[in-house]
């Protein structure tokens, strides 16, 4: 059984421009005052870890990673 994709929010300390969206494979970039939120859908844990490694390699500061189960679907891939 394949589990359905999950929504995640990744909170970073640095400010990223919205044009980083492509780099994080379609994640939405939300700029806040003191942090940046990357929100989007990941297929599985492997993809999520891939993002985290990318974040590490860029030297970005990770604040939190959260699963967004209760939020409305924000994915561009559409719901089933």
């Amino acid at each position: 059984m394949k589990s359905p994709p999950k929504q995640y929010a990744i909170k970073l300390k640095e400010h990223l421009e919205p044009d980083w969206s492509d780099w994080f494979d379609g994640f939405f970039i939300e700029e806040e005052d003191n942090f940046t939120l990357l929100k989007g859908e990941v297929i599985d844990q492997a993809e999520l870890h891939g993002f985290l490694i990318m974040i590490r390699d860029l030297g970005l500061t990770l604040i939190s990673v959260e699963e967004l189960n209760d939020l409305p679907d924000i994915s561009t891939r559409g719901s089933e």
Partner: protein, 896 residues
């Protein structure tokens, strides 16, 4: 269609630049505090230097290395190193650089096929390092690229077992997944973390004053330090960027006012300041993992790329020099990411073009790994598959299975199936990793490939034959192996040293089984020559030792001995002379013991047999262990150590359970010989019955030694007519094969049969044939295994002026040797009113070396109660009351 590469370029050409620390930039700041900390870290087994990209980890370690008397082995890792074989090969290569001579010993182990566990390799590596006298530090840079779980596990094992004078430093962006708490609690872990390694305000001040022309105020320095958070690469870029401003205030206004991700900001800032050509250069070459004048020119079309590269290096911008003569560079990983992002935003249409051109350029310069990388980046699977085909066989040869697997997994199934070489590679991998059950299916699949076009067909079919030959040989079907190895050799091109080497080796093995010994020697010689050209040390060692073995069978002891010793020498390291040996050499030592024994150099033979068995056990290869036991048992028997030989036979049986049935015959032979020696004919009868062999069987060469047991049994039982008939048949077989050593053994038995029948003339005739074979090569031991009657016959022959000198030599060996003790052993035992059983003798030996009854039980795999019963019985038979008395009495009677 994918022609195999010539061997001039091996796929695992060690990329030398990985083994050097990067060059220090002119503007680097010495960091005495950290260097001091690293110096004291020499006492820790593991030091972790952990910080994100651009904090100067490599620079720090480079400075420490250049400022240190310790030997340092440096290895910069990259993503391709996730293959365990490749990873450890690089470790060896880096150690080799420190002039420790490990390669000759360790490489064949890493590359040898069939269940050679990396653990065995690790144990050897630790052993080798333990022998080193000078302190050594191994540095693994960029360890975070390693994702392979098995590598992590082994590196951790490696760390925990490191000898005292060796320590490991790991530079990484994230902590390695090791369970380090134990190391930490033992004070064996040192850590340099971001808080230690980032520039503090003082260092920032010192650095900026050194590289910036303007006088910066304390406040300005504070801003730079705060915004970069002591991130060294950021300070470099800020300083560079500042130089392009007409006054520092404009710079600070822009710098302080922008709160973007600083690395991204600085990259954009610097790109903006560059002339269009350099900017374009930076973006377009960011896709390359290796930069050189030529490849940069290829993808950018810009002339004089070298001067741009040197400009970037001189200004400490983004790139790192990979060698001292400024030929090869790479981007600092962080900046290649940021530049690639800019490229994707500004010139996305260029990306596929650049990958294609890069892939082609690398291909034409024989850098196939890089070429494959770029082909995958544009999803050009067809191209990737063709490129992989070109080097796949060499990767197999090097044991880089993980690399091949990861590539094949990335390819779509239809592409894999339309490229037969990929299937061939998978089949070889199955052979080498012992998944024999899967091989046949894979091979059948390849044969049905529609793409088997004429140009390559023979070569591919040659490989299919070679793979099947290996498969049959491992399963024990010698005639099928013979047929297929011949098929392979007829089809394979002359420069495919890998497949030709293996096929010739298999051909030799199967010819030996068939009894065509001269042809076997020829095949082994070919295997030696081919594997030498292909630098395939595994096949070389094996073909040499089997060749020696066949020579010994043919009675050519001197030549066999030479063959073994030269195979051993091919291993000899040039540096320190450590007498330990490599596990893969075990077989040679075992074979060597066989020759020494024939020369009746029993103590030496025993020593080599022991060493051979021990090495093969360390290797863990069951076949080698099997052969090891054979020669070890033989040596024990020659020494007269019956209990020891019995234990060895039991262990050999256990080991042989996992080998094809025909191998069990070796154990039968030794067990039979042992019981014939101690005159336990009932036991031999049982063995023969169990094996279900009969006089009217059709006997082939491979059964010769089995029926020698039967013949000797018949002779000792005084079924002389039957014995003579069987021996005559065996003699014919041995003669036809040219197995002179076997002929010799059989003539001796024939001579004894006639001697017992009082047919002295016939006895002398057979003995004369035996002595003729034996004299020139000094086969002494063959005459010392049949007790007094053979000695009497020899004396009789000498009295008739036959071979007087040589017989004198045999008789001297007889009276000087352990054979006297051995005869006394039997006689001594018979002196007792009721002789000890074989089991009781075994127990007695174990008591004599000081084992407790519980330990005796363990050693013999019996219950403690049973062991006590044996002890009680043997006390009774010896008429003693305790262990000390028993041992004394046993010595008196020469029972042990």
């Amino acid at each position: 269609m994918g022609k195999q590469e010539k061997h001039s370029d091996t796929p695992f050409t060690t990329i030398e630049t990985k083994l050097f620390s990067p060059a220090l930039s002119k503007s680097h700041l010495s960091r005495f505090k950290l260097l001091k900390k690293l110096n004291s870290a020499e006492n820790c087994k593991l030091t972790i230097v952990s910080a994100p990209a651009g904090y100067g980890k490599s620079t720090l370690l480079t400075e420490w290395t250049s400022d240190n008397d310790r030997k340092v082995a440096w290895l910069s890792l990259d993503k391709d190193d996730n293959d365990p074989t490749r990873f450890w090969s690089y470790i060896i290569a880096s150690l080799q650089k420190t002039s420790t001579n490990l390669e000759t010993v360790l490489k064949p182990i890493l590359r040898s096929p069939q269940h050679v566990s990396i653990e065995v390799f690790l144990a050897e590596l630790i052993n080798e390092l333990s022998d080193m006298r000078t302190p050594l530090t191994i540095i693994l840079d960029d360890y975070h690229v390693i994702e392979s779980k098995s590598i992590h596990e082994m590196v951790f094992q490696f760390i925990t077992r490191l000898p005292g004078q060796v320590n490991l430093i790991i530079a990484t962006r994230s902590d390695p997944p090791f369970p380090v708490s134990r190391l930490r609690s033992m004070g064996q872990l040192c850590e340099l973390r971001i808080k230690d390694i980032r520039f503090n305000l003082e260092e920032t001040t010192q650095f900026l004053n050194q590289v910036v022309e303007w006088d910066l105020s304390e406040e300005e320095i504070r801003i730079l330090n705060r915004k970069t958070e002591g991130w060294i690469a950021g300070l470099h870029l800020s300083a560079y960027s500042m130089r392009n401003y007409s006054d520092k205030n404009t710079f600070f206004a822009s710098f302080a006012g922008d709160d973007r991700f600083i690395a991204d900001y600085l990259v954009e800032e610097i790109l903006r300041q560059q002339p269009e050509q350099i900017k374009s250069f930076l973006l377009q070459t960011s896709l390359l993992n290796v930069l050189s004048d030529q490849v940069c020119h290829e993808v950018t079309g810009i002339d004089h790329c070298q001067s741009i590269l040197e400009y970037l290096e001189d200004n400490n911008l983004f790139i790192i020099s990979l060698d001292l003569n400024r030929r090869r560079y790479r981007y600092h990983h962080l900046f290649s990411e940021l530049l690639r992002r800019r490229l994707a935003l500004e010139q996305p249409e260029e990306i596929p073009r650049i990958h294609q051109q890069a892939s082609q350029w690398f291909e034409s310069h024989n850098l196939i790994h890089q070429s494959i990388y770029h082909a995958f980046e544009t999803n050009d699977y067809e191209r990737a598959a063709l490129l992989i085909q070109r080097i796949v066989m060499k990767l197999i040869n090097q044991g880089e299975f993980e690399t091949i697997n990861s590539w094949i997994e990335e390819l779509p199934r239809p592409i894999v199936e339309s490229h037969p070489w990929l299937g061939i590679a998978r089949a070889w991998e199955m052979i080498f990793s012992g998944q024999l059950d899967l091989v046949q299916d894979e091979v059948s699949l390849i044969s049905t490939f529609p793409s088997l076009i004429a140009a390559d067909k023979d070569h591919i079919n040659g490989h299919i034959f070679a793979i099947q030959a290996c498969l049959y040989s491992l399963k024990g079907d010698q005639s099928a192996a013979l047929y297929d190895s011949q098929g392979a050799l007829a089809l394979l091109p002359h420069d495919d040293y890998f497949a030709r080497g293996i096929s010739s080796l298999i051909l030799g093995l199967s010819l030996r089984w068939k009894g065509d010994l001269s042809a076997a020697i020829e095949a082994y010689t070919t295997a030696q020559q081919v594997s030498e050209k292909g630098e395939d040390s595994f096949v070389y060692i094996y073909s040499s030792s089997f060749k020696g073995y066949v020579m010994v069978l043919m009675g050519r002891l001197q030549e066999g001995y030479k063959e073994y010793t030269s195979a051993l020498q091919s291993f000899q390291r040039t540096g320190e002379d450590v007498q330990r040996g490599s596990p893969i050499q075990g077989l040679i030592y075992s074979f060597l013991s066989g020759v020494l024994l024939r020369w009746n150099r029993i103590d030496q033979a025993f020593e080599q047999a022991q060493k051979g068995l021990e090495l093969s056990k360390r290797w863990g290869n069951r076949q080698a262990v099997h052969d090891g036991y054979f020669f070890y048992t033989q040596a024990l028997l020659a020494k007269g150590d019956i209990p020891g030989a019995k234990i060895a036979i039991q262990q050999a049986k256990k080991n042989a359970e996992h080998l094809p049935p025909f191998q069990h015959l070796d154990v039968f032979f030794q067990e039979g010989m042992l019981h014939l020696k101690i005159q336990d004919l009932d036991h031999v009868a049982k063995l023969i019955q169990n094996l279900d062999i009969h006089l009217d069987d059709d006997i082939g060469y491979i059964h010769l030694q089995t029926y020698q047991v039967l013949a000797k049994y018949l002779r000792q039982r005084e079924d002389l007519e039957l014995a003579a008939q069987l021996l005559t048949r065996l003699l014919e077989i041995a003669k036809e094969a040219g197995a002179r050593s076997k002929e010799l053994d059989i003539y001796i038995q024939l001579a004894l049969v006639s001697w017992i029948r009082k047919d002295e003339r016939q006895a002398l005739r057979s003995l004369k044939s035996a002595l003729t074979i034996a004299e020139s090569e000094r086969h002494l031991n063959a005459f010392l295994n049949d007790g007094q009657s053979l000695i009497d016959l020899l004396k009789y022959a000498a009295s008739k002026s036959l071979f007087v000198k040589f017989i004198g030599e045999i008789l001297r060996a007889h009276s000087a040797g352990t054979h006297i003790g051995e005869m006394r052993y039997i006689e001594g035992n018979e002196d007792l009113i009721s002789p000890l059983t074989a089991r009781e003798l075994q127990v007695l030996c174990l008591l004599a070396i000081g084992l407790t009854s519980t330990e005796v039980a363990e050693e013999l795999v019996i219950s403690v109660g049973t062991a006590r019963t044996h002890i009680k019985n043997l006390y009774r038979k010896l008429n003693v009351h305790n262990r000390a008395e028993a041992v004394n009495k046993a010595n008196e009677l020469s029972l042990i």
